[in-house]
């Protein structure tokens, strides 16, 4: 049906890299007037970057621009700022709200585009001081809201609104722009209740009938199937597949999204079973109040000696599990380790019981950026286990043992192949991959009994990735340390882990052996998304 419609937007060979890290490769896409396409892909697949290019975001230009052509209405365009993009008829609703909390709906919808009337003061001081035509503003806002087909209060102040209404206000703002031809919705339903999401889908259909083309990004595949004409699936910066929504289904899309390997064959490493091993860690009714990664009710058992993977989409709570147990965010529930209950909200007690944690936030939590590698690696072991210290006056004075610190640092620099000028180099000066290795060394130096590793390969290059994963596996095999590995990359979990638990909606949606197919894991990922 697209063929009859005029092509509105065409992307030709779009390329984008961030400092040599290729995030978009050879993107080709066509969009007709009034067409609704669903854009799906895992986190980091390149959806947001692509939309930023379309919208002329500053950060694209600051990082060296992009390759390829964007053709709008048959003309090649290159937006130097979002204002140009708005001028050309592109509207975008962001994941985060960009509304003014103290203004009413109407004021937000028409912000900076208010109909005005000249008055005495503005005659003198310029049109910034024109009087607002309140009644006309009301009408235009009402029109925009009506176009969505939902009922929200025009005079309510944004800060008093439920999130769903804020989302609608954002959409209404885009709709009130007369030149609007293409609307980009970036996970608009993430914060909506079911009923509100339903209403939004209706309004998408309505907008499409008016000839507005829509790019709809969401993790809820049912919504895509319900409302879109076409589904475009991205993975690792490529468009891997596109299909009319009527000819595909959730399972198929999931497989396109997550499967590096469409056949879905077993992971390369033989998985071990630890069925007879005893449970070393049991988590009951865990909740964690970590912003953006709320854990609601997690029950999980970890077997001694295994590598347990925890996967799931961003925001579903997988990161909250280790952060909550380690006491970095407020948590509740019951955690029993090796027969002893571990008190929550106390990092020290966890560390004393033999836990170690490699945080996903390398620079914020994982490292002392302005200190030497020696300090970074030896510090936790020094503070928690009194190692690398010389005792004087019967232990009254605990003096830093620089020699022992240097020895252990050199040992890890060698065994993990950390590339640095010396053990006294500052952590800040290392590359991301090497910083990650320092974080691992720090955890290894604690000689933990249970190691939490969160997003061990985030933001590091392929070579370093393999090394980090191998180091973890070796640590597990040789020292018998139980590892809980949290990662957004399913393939990585399938390669390294024995079992994979999938978190969805702040709960464990299921646990499968690592040899399970990508479709099964993917289905779990999406099963309880909220």
């Amino acid at each position: 049906m697209n063929d009859q419609k005029k092509t509105l937007l065409e992307l030709k060979n779009i390329q984008k890299d961030f400092f040599g890290n290729q995030v978009l490769t050879d993107i080709n896409m066509k969009l007709g007037e009034g067409e609704v396409i669903g854009l799906v892909g895992e986190n980091g697949a390149g959806k947001s970057t692509l939309m930023r290019i379309l919208f002329g975001a500053d950060m694209i230009r600051e990082t060296g621009g992009y390759g390829g052509d964007v053709i709008l209405n048959g003309e090649k365009v290159s937006f130097s700022s979002p204002f140009d993009a708005i001028e050309a008829g592109i509207g975008m609703v962001h994941q985060e709200f960009s509304l003014i909390p103290g203004f009413t709906t109407t004021e937000n919808i028409l912000l900076n585009r208010e109909p005005t009337r000249r008055n005495v003061i503005s005659e003198v001081f310029g049109d910034r001081l024109d009087t607002l035509k309140r009644t006309e503003m009301d009408e235009r806002a009402a029109n925009a809201i009506e176009m969505m087909g939902v009922d929200i209060d025009r005079n309510m102040i944004i800060s008093d609104m439920p999130v769903g209404h804020k989302q609608f206000t954002e959409i209404a703002r885009e709709l009130s722009k007369e030149q609007l031809k293409l609307l980009i919705l970036d996970e608009p339903t993430a914060v909506l209740t079911e009923k509100e999401a339903e209403a939004l889908l209706d309004s998408i259909r309505g907008m499409s009938e008016r000839g507005i083309a829509i790019i709809f990004i969401t993790h809820r595949l049912q919504e895509i199937l319900a409302v879109c004409d076409r589904v475009v699936v991205m993975r690792d910066g490529y468009i891997v597949n596109e299909a009319p929504a009527s000819e595909t289904n959730v399972t198929e899309i999931t497989r396109w999204m997550v499967g590096r390997d469409v056949e879905g064959k077993a992971s390369s490493v033989s998985t071990r079973t630890h069925e007879n091993a005893k449970t070393i860690l049991s988590i009951e009714k865990l909740w964690v109040d970590m912003p953006g990664e709320t854990v609601r009710n997690v029950n999980l058992e970890v077997k001694k000696g295994e590598i347990l993977g925890i996967g799931g989409l961003a925001g579903q709570g997988k990161l909250g599990i280790p952060n909550g147990i380690m006491g970095l965010y407020e948590a509740g529930g019951k955690v029993v380790f090796d027969g002893k209950e571990i008190p929550l909200n106390s990092p020290r007690r966890c560390l004393d019981s033999g836990f170690a944690f490699v945080s996903e936030d390398r620079r914020g939590v994982g490292l002392l950026l302005d200190e030497t590698l020696e300090w970074n690696i030896a510090f936790p072991a020094m503070q928690i286990q009194n190692r690398f210290l010389k005792n004087y006056l019967g232990g009254l004075i605990k003096w830093r043992d620089e020699k022992a610190i240097k020895e252990i640092t050199d040992k890890y620099i060698e065994s993990l192949a950390i590339r640095c000028t010396s053990s006294r180099q500052k952590a800040r000066e290392l590359s991301g991959g090497n910083q990650q290795k320092v974080c691992l060394a720090k955890a290894f130096a604690l000689a933990p009994r249970l190691l939490f590793v969160s997003e061990p390969t985030r933001g590091i290059d392929v070579g370093a990735k393999a090394l980090v994963l191998d180091a973890l596996k070796e640590f597990n095999r040789e020292s018998g340390v139980t590892i809980v590995m949290i990662s957004s990359e399913l393939e990585e979990l399938r390669q390294s882990c024995d079992r994979i638990a999938i978190v969805s909606g702040g709960k464990i949606a299921g646990i499968l052996p690592a040899s399970s197919s990508v479709e099964d894991l993917g289905a779990l990922m999406l099963s309880q998304v909220i």
Partner: protein
């Protein structure tokens, strides 16, 4: 040829960068003053004696900055709080009738509990307002000085050497230490060669405290303090009680300020009350910054270099300038140097965090 000079230039630039442009300029200025001094007719050994003496008085007050900088509480603009503890120790020691060197030891002993209590309260307050420490510290300093302005008048001091002559109550603004602990430290192993004098005892006392701080920073707790300042989240994840460490640093800083003011007084010869503590924080802050410290990194070397440079300029400018232009420029230069230095350091903080 061209590339050679370019290389040379970049090397020079690097050197300047590592040494710090302001520190370089101030060093050059001080050297210039030292060269000019004999030319304009000032006696160089006397000038150097002055610099050394002032260094020995102020060293510990500057040293008091170090613990709080290490724990990430920033520069201790609340120094007057510690100074007040010291002043309480000094006045009470005299009030209780101690004299000579013993009055100095008693002053330290009496000042200590005040410093510990006030420091704890101050530290507790700073833990409540993480991120805005320096601004709050400034106001803590200011308000404590104002409160004590009233207290000095009201507290029932009786010693005739300290109270106003006519009224018989309320402390005087300046109290002479003659007969008490004037020069108690300076006179130990005092060296005098012609016009050059060195207060060896005071310098040794400073060296002892500086050594203790240096040593402390090499212990387990000291390492934790530096880590807390470097990245509090990292420290928390490593099981450190961040608030406790910060509190400890504030107490240490306050106690050092109390000792620092007592050492200052024994050299200066007077106890100064009322608004005097008000003016003590900024010179100490700018001295450590001139010494090359930043808002979150400071070493003992920074303290020593900074105190010498800052006090050098403060003592040299009046003599040299007055002899040259017959006009008192010293105060202006002191203010420009100290405030400018603080301003520079605060802008550098945002640069560093990027």
């Amino acid at each position: 040829m061209n590339t050679d000079t370019k290389k040379e230039k970049s090397r020079l630039k690097k050197m300047v960068e590592s040494f710090g442009l302001p520190r370089l300029l101030i060093t050059l200025f001080l050297i210039l003053l030292l060269i000019l001094a004999p030319i304009v007719g000032a006696d160089l050994p006397t000038q150097i004696t002055n610099i050394i003496a002032r260094f020995s008085w102020n060293g510990i007050l500057v040293l008091a900055m170090v613990p709080m900088v290490h724990s990430g509480c920033g520069l201790n603009f609340g120094l007057p709080l510690g100074i007040i503890s010291g002043l309480l120790g000094a006045t009470l020691s005299i009030e209780f009738g101690f004299t000579g060197a013993f009055s100095f030891i008693m002053a330290i002993l009496i000042a200590t509990p005040f410093a510990l209590v006030l420091g704890t309260i101050y530290g507790w307050l700073l833990n409540k307002i993480k991120g805005g420490e320096m601004m709050i510290a400034t106001y803590v300093g200011f308000s404590s000085v104002s409160l004590m302005c009233m207290m000095w008048l009201v507290l029932p001091y009786k010693s005739p050497n300290m109270v106003w002559g006519m009224a018989g109550k309320g402390l005087r603004t300046t109290i002479s230490l003659e007969g008490y602990y004037i020069n108690v430290l300076a006179d130990i192993l005092h060296i005098k060669i012609g016009n050059l004098e060195i207060p060896t005892g005071t310098i040794l006392f400073f060296a002892l405290l500086a050594f203790l701080i240096w040593a402390f920073l090499h212990t387990k707790t000291g390492t934790a303090m530096t880590a807390v300042g470097s990245n509090p989240t990292f420290a928390k994840a490593a099981g450190i009680n961040v608030n406790k460490i910060r509190l400890l640093s504030v107490v240490m800083s306050t106690w050092l300020a109390a000792i620092g003011i007592l050492v200052y007084e024994q050299g200066f010869g007077f106890i100064q009350l009322y608004m005097a503590p008000f003016y003590m924080a900024l010179p100490a802050v700018s001295a450590i910054l001139i010494g090359g410290a930043s808002v979150n990194k400071a070493s003992i070397t920074n303290v020593i270099i900074g105190t010498i440079l800052f006090q050098g300029i403060v003592t040299m400018t009046p003599t040299v300038m007055n002899n040259m232009v017959h006009m008192d420029m010293s105060e202006v230069i002191r203010i420009i140097a100290s405030q400018g230095m603080i301003l520079y350091a605060l802008t550098r903080k945002t640069e560093g965090s990027k």
